[in-house]
């Protein structure tokens, strides 16, 4: 018997139709992955904006700091304002300095240690703010493919069960279920790839900013230590 190649039974194969044909587990996986993707993109956008702002703030502060303005004056303008980055480190150090001198510092070594501690704390708080939520990107980047794969495996499982029920192994019967199951992996990868790339870029950016702030803190600590020595020498 000659054989005609018969066309596949016309089933809707658009992405939307595939989503609606899927079982509830696969649907849940897809919705979860979509939400994760939305959230990770929100973090990416937010962090990009925040880092750009931070970079700009650092540049501005460095410009002002090294312009030769007196530190007292700078502290006065910054202390009643909400500060970020180097500004908050500077304010924390100056506050400690002021407190110690208003009450009359006994030991210059103890003052130095306190100022360093205050600056470290401010730096840590700033770094926390910079790096917060990057962990979510990392976990999405590593787990989203697995979640998608889980959806695919479940989808293929159910589609094979359906094939066994229909007692037909025609490719036209097999294909739609597998295509629908693979959609879950596709969404998983769609969420994971940007998350991984963004995580790598953002964490390196945050590291650079942190280094810059650390450098400033060290420098400012050196300046203050010189000042303390001068004051101690003056007193004596």
């Amino acid at each position: 018997m000659e054989s005609l190649t018969l066309a596949a039974p016309g089933g809707e194969l658009s992405i939307w139709a595939l989503f609606w044909q899927a079982g509830w587990v696969v649907k849940l996986v897809m919705i979860g992955l979509l939400a994760a993707s939305i959230w990770s993109w929100a973090i990416i956008i937010d962090k990009l904006i925040a880092y750009a702002r931070m970079r700009a703030a650092l540049n501005r502060f460095e410009q002002i700091f090294w312009s030769g303005q007196s530190l007292e004056e700078l502290y006065r303008t910054l202390s009643d304002r909400k500060t970020t980055g180097m500004g908050s480190i500077f304010v924390a150090a100056m506050r400690e300095w002021k407190k110690s001198f208003e009450k009359g510092a006994r030991s210059p070594i103890g003052l130095q240690t306190r100022i360093d501690k205050a600056m470290d704390l401010a730096l840590t708080r700033e770094m926390e703010r910079l790096e917060g939520r990057l962990g979510f990107l990392a976990s999405i980047g590593s787990s989203a493919p697995f979640i998608g794969l889980f959806g695919t495996v479940v989808g293929i499982m159910t589609s094979f069960q359906a094939i066994a029920g229909s007692k037909s192994t025609n490719l036209a019967v097999v294909a739609p279920g597998i295509a629908e199951a693979l959609l879950a992996t596709a969404i998983g990868l769609l969420a994971a790839i940007p998350a991984v790339i963004a995580y790598n870029k953002l964490s390196s950016d945050a590291g650079k900013l942190g280094l810059r702030m650390e450098g400033f803190a060290d420098e400012f600590s050196a300046i203050l230590s010189r000042q303390i020595d001068e004051k101690v020498a003056g007193k004596a």
Partner: protein, 353 residues
């Protein structure tokens, strides 16, 4: 954080919206259509299946043979020579002469001229016609066939004639020395023929009761005595205008190509080809089934080839059997029921992949 979330949500919404409109169903693969060639197979049925008619007449809706002619009751005058009176032409010698009749009946015309010419002719004709094959058998030394032939009353006359011919011809043929290898051949060819013709009749006669035997014998005798030659018969009466057609109506016994295609298509629609099999060559299945005149399947389809061995092959056979049963009432021309009462279908999935 809020700006990021809003931006991300709108981005995703836009992407999904774009995907819904532009990434709709992917285009189905172009599948090469096997029957797309514009070749028309002219079925042999259009030639063999001819309605009775006239070959040169124009085609008409209703087939009709050439109208027959009534014989003219008045004989045509045949004028021969310078006579003023109509005379029949002299009888042609090809008319079959029966020695008894010619002797008893008076001459057809008063003219005595043809008589002498006619009489001497038939005898030599007979003598010449008969002896040619006979001498070969008679020359053989084996007397057996002769003995068996003798009891038959019809054959007796022939034998008698043969004997006459033999007596005349024998001396002529015998001295030829080159004819030697021939006798055994002629003997083997001739003797069994006679035996064959008579033996079954004899056997039948022996098996039947006496009265029937007698009747049969009488029938045989009558059939043998009937010297009338079989004639071609008359014409089929027709008064209508001749239409295009052949000399006879030949009802096509075979299904035409298009009818076979229709049957094939009906079965194929229900055939779920076993997919995913590694060696599709071995999945050829032949299924035989019977149909009743309404086109329904009678009994269970028999798998006559393939379908044994591996599970895949059995699955293929089952799918073929299912296809036949599923599409059951087949729409086929009733007048050719004989052709499709018993159908064998070969399922071959090797082309499907």
């Amino acid at each position: 954080m809020k700006t990021g979330l809003i931006a991300s949500a709108t981005l995703h919404a836009a992407l999904i919206g774009f995907g819904l409109f532009s990434l709709s169903a992917p285009r189905a693969y172009e599948v090469a259509d096997i029957e797309a060639l514009p070749v028309d197979i002219v079925p042999v049925e259009s030639i063999t299946q001819i309605q009775e008619g006239d070959k040169k007449a124009p085609a008409a809706e209703k087939p009709a043979p050439t109208p027959t002619k009534r014989p003219d009751p008045v004989e045509n005058a045949a004028k021969v020579g310078d006579n003023d009176v109509d005379l029949k032409p002299p009888p042609t010698p090809e008319a079959k002469p029966k020695p008894v009749e010619t002797a008893s009946t008076p001459p057809p015309s008063e003219k005595p001229a043809p008589k002498p010419a006619e009489r001497p002719e038939p005898e030599p004709q007979e003598a010449k016609a008969e002896p040619v094959p006979v001498p070969a058998t008679e020359v053989t030394p084996e007397p057996q066939p002769k003995q068996e032939v003798e009891p038959d009353p019809a054959a007796e006359t022939i034998v008698a004639e043969d004997a006459e011919a033999e007596s005349v011809k024998l001396p002529k043929t015998a001295p030829v020395p080159q004819a030697r290898p021939q006798p055994p051949k002629a003997q083997t060819a001739k003797a069994p023929e006679r035996k064959k013709a008579e033996e079954p009749a004899r056997k039948q006669a022996a098996a039947r009761p006496e009265s029937e035997k007698k009747d049969d014998l009488l029938d045989d005798v009558a059939a043998l005595l009937n010297k009338q030659k079989a004639s071609g018969g008359g014409a089929k009466r027709s008064t209508e205008e001749a239409a295009l057609g052949g000399e006879r109506t030949t009802s096509g016994e075979k299904l035409s190509q298009s009818e076979m295609d229709a049957l094939r298509g009906q079965i194929q629609r229900c055939w779920n080809v076993p997919a995913g099999a590694l060696d599709a060559e071995n999945l050829k299945v032949s299924v035989q089934f019977k149909l009743d005149p309404s086109g329904a399947v009678q009994g269970a389809p028999q798998i006559i080839a393939g379908g044994s061995g591996s599970t895949v092959e059995r699955a293929a056979a089952e799918s073929a059997r299912r296809a036949i049963l599923q599409c059951a009432p087949y729409n086929l021309p009733t007048e050719k029921y004989d052709a499709w009462a018993d159908v064998i279908v070969h399922f071959d999935p090797s082309d499907m992949f």
